[in-house]
């Protein structure tokens, strides 16, 4: 299967320093699979996530999205249309409602869905958020509900890649299981490439492939049966 995302010798150092957070990282990610990137704090996981999400730019190397280097495409457009990011701390617009967050994301991505609001309600319903909850402001929602809204937002513009940073880090076990099921379903049923960055071995265990990071590079790759 063709990879949707390829990392070729991706290197990253903070501006004005010689300290390499990522050092010639290479990997390939395919559609329809769940990937888990694991590693200790400071291993470079979050930096890699930022680069994949198009929130930052690598110092050296290339990140190919469907064969095109991210440096050559409009990163705003890539973030709006190509990738959906699920943040550990949700990063939602807290003074807006859940439905407004989703619709705004669709507007930014110039979604062609005719009835965006209804689409957003349906999407939230699918993720486990009813209409009443969808109409509440983000600050009035629980952590689990906020994370579900974060997932719905990441899916709203139908991206090829979904990247999740510790998606269950702040959640209880039941909610964690629900979220993980959703992520597995997105990859296996809807053909998305799901990349999960996590500390948790339990979370990593649901992945099709696990990439372990140490000192700015992948130490090993393990394919799960």
């Amino acid at each position: 299967m063709m990879s949707v995302l390829t990392l070729n010798n991706v290197t990253y150092s903070y501006e004005g320093t010689n300290v390499y957070v990522l050092d010639s990282v290479s990997a390939s990610f395919e559609a329809g699979k769940v990937y888990a990137i694991i590693g200790r704090s400071g291993a470079g996981k979050s930096t890699l996530l930022s680069l994949i999400a198009g929130l930052d730019v690598s110092t050296k190397g290339e990140i190919l999205y469907n064969g095109t280097d991210l440096k050559e495409i409009d990163r705003d457009e890539y973030r709006a249309k190509g990738i959906g990011v699920i943040f550990q701390s949700y990063n939602l617009l807290t003074n807006a409602t859940a439905i407004e967050n989703i619709v705004l994301s669709m507007n930014i991505s110039e979604s062609e869905v005719t009835n965006k609001k209804q689409f957003a309600y349906d999407l939230l319903q699918k993720i486990g958020i009813d209409k009443t909850t969808a109409d509440r402001k983000i600050l009035k929602l629980s952590g689990g509900e906020q994370q579900r809204v974060g997932i719905a937002r990441a899916l709203s513009h139908k991206p090829d890649i979904i990247i999740a940073d510790e998606p269950t880090g702040n959640l209880d076990t039941d909610t964690e299981n629900d979220i993980l099921k959703i992520l597995i379903s997105l990859a296996h049923d809807e053909g998305k490439c799901v990349i999960i960055v996590t500390h948790s071995k339990e979370v990593a265990s649901i992945a099709d492939e696990i990439l372990a990071m140490t000192d700015g590079n992948f130490e090993s790759t393990k394919t799960m049966d």
Partner: protein
């Protein structure tokens, strides 16, 4: 479109800080409205006054120069504009109009004057060294075109009618009773007239006959003392100026004082008008000027008011801008996270900026509407109050009373010559003022937003999110 919708929703979402920014903006706009309205109205009033009062011309004799040039006795006739000249000046094409009154003192051989006691009519002064007749003592005044007192109620028509034809005059009720005169009677008065062809100081008492067309009642009090007959209002004969300027025989006019006020079409015509009347014979012992004193007395309160408000608006705008910029900067800094999220979602920088500007723009429109209403409502009482103070100040600092020309002619000025200083301004909000205020508000809001926006959009979204998380 969604950016505008989202911006409008954000107004309500961030209502706490928007109310704060809105209050400052409202206060600035309201204060600016007051300032602009008063400034523009005052400017219009000043322009109006400049047209109406700034064009009034004063022709005043320089008595010192005349005395030095013609001597103690001969300077007086030369300190008065000859009637022929006064009439000729009035025909200038630079004038919008003129007001002309005349005065001459007359005597009589047989009429008794009101207020005289033990006086023999026809008494003449001798030994003045003049050639010709000894001048008869003047105890009466003939007044030309002095009708305004019938409008003010100081005089009333008792019998007959106002003079209609040359040679007709009105006399007072008291003078008529004293001399047993009635409407239709003829009276002969003696006018002292110089006869230049007989010599510079050759004088003759020329008789002129008037027909009594009407009898008036003088409503004014005589006062504490007893005025000399010549100064007694009941001894004034009222007639048309044409009667007075009519030749009294052999092309000679009676000794006559004409008070003329000329109004230029435009104050800029003054030099041309002066050149013309000099050519028509105005002596160089006269000064020609625009009536700056009256103009200043009226305009100074308004100009004072305008300068107060210009200062006020400048201070409000300066302080308000600083406060607004700070508030806006703080407000946008508080929204740093929101901006980070929007950028992380893929919203382009330009669209983020557009959204923030839409928000500020919508807030400005709301504040502008409220500020215009409140400012307009406040303008009138504020203007009235400040104008009252300015008028009081102007009243203490500018001279009042009859104008110099009037005093020299021994006459009180006409009501038209003494315009009352402005005591009220009707402030109004015209379209140009609204455009000016809207421009100022939008610029202010734009500058205030720009400071925060430029600052906040420098950051990459990842930095904002990492900072917060």
């Amino acid at each position: 479109m969604y950016i505008l919708t989202n911006a409008l929703k954000n107004l309500a979402r961030n209502k706490g800080r928007n109310i704060l920014v809105g209050l400052v903006l409202f206060a600035i706009i309201a204060a600016t409205v007051v300032g602009f309205v008063i400034n523009n109205t005052a400017s219009a009033v000043i322009d109006d006054f400049r047209t109406r009062f700034g064009s009034q011309v004063s022709i005043t004799p320089d008595m010192e120069v005349a005395r030095a040039r013609y001597g103690d006795l001969a300077y007086l006739p030369r300190a008065i504009i000859p009637p022929d000249q006064a009439l000729a000046f009035a025909e200038s094409r630079y004038l919008r109009g003129h007001i002309m009154t005349a005065l001459k003192s007359v005597g009589s051989d047989y009429l008794h004057a009101v207020g005289e006691a033990g006086f023999t009519p026809g008494y003449r002064i001798s030994g003045l060294g003049m050639e010709g007749d000894d001048p008869v003592i003047s105890r009466f005044r003939v007044m030309g075109n002095m009708w305004y007192e019938f409008e003010t109620g100081e005089r009333l028509l008792l019998e007959g009618q106002m003079p209609q034809a040359v040679g007709e005059a009105m006399i007072s009720h008291e003078l008529a009773e004293l001399n047993d005169l009635s409407v239709g009677d003829e009276i002969m008065m003696l006018h002292a007239a110089f006869m230049p062809e007989m010599g510079a100081m050759y004088l003759r008492n020329v008789p002129i006959t008037y027909t009594v067309s009407g009898i008036y009642l003088d409503m004014t009090e005589i006062g504490g003392g007893f005025p000399a007959p010549l100064n007694h209002r009941r001894n004034e004969m009222l007639t048309a100026i044409d009667t007075m300027t009519n030749p009294i025989g052999d092309g000679v006019r009676a000794f006559l004082i004409i008070s003329a006020t000329y109004y230029l079409r435009d104050p800029a015509y003054l030099p041309y008008f002066e050149a013309e009347i000099r050519e028509k014979g105005l002596a160089d012992t006269f000064r020609v000027s625009a009536d700056e004193a009256s103009f200043r007395a009226i305009v100074e309160p308004v100009e004072g008011l305008r300068s107060v408000f210009i200062t006020f608006v400048i201070i409000v705008l300066a302080l308000g801008s600083i406060i607004l910029v700070l508030l806006s900067w703080i407000a946008i800094r508080e929204r740093k996270y929101e901006i980070g999220v929007l950028r992380a979602m893929g919203m382009k920088k330009g669209k983020v900026v557009k959204g923030l500007l839409y928000e500020m723009g919508a807030l400005t429109v709301i504040c502008l509407a409220l500020g215009l209403v409140a400012g307009t409502a406040a303008s009138q009482p504020v203007a009235d109050n400040l104008l009252r103070q300015q008028v009081e100040i102007a009243g203490r600092t500018t001279p009042s009373g009859p104008q110099a020309a009037g005093l020299l002619h021994g006459m009180l000025p006409l009501p038209e010559d003494a315009p009352e200083p402005l005591s009220e301004i009707s402030v109004h909000l015209g379209a140009p003022v609204m455009v000016q205020i809207a421009t100022v508000s939008v610029l202010l809001a734009f500058v205030a937003s720009a400071v925060g926006i430029v600052n906040i959009t420098r950051y990459e979204p990842i930095k904002i999110l990492v900072e917060r998380n």
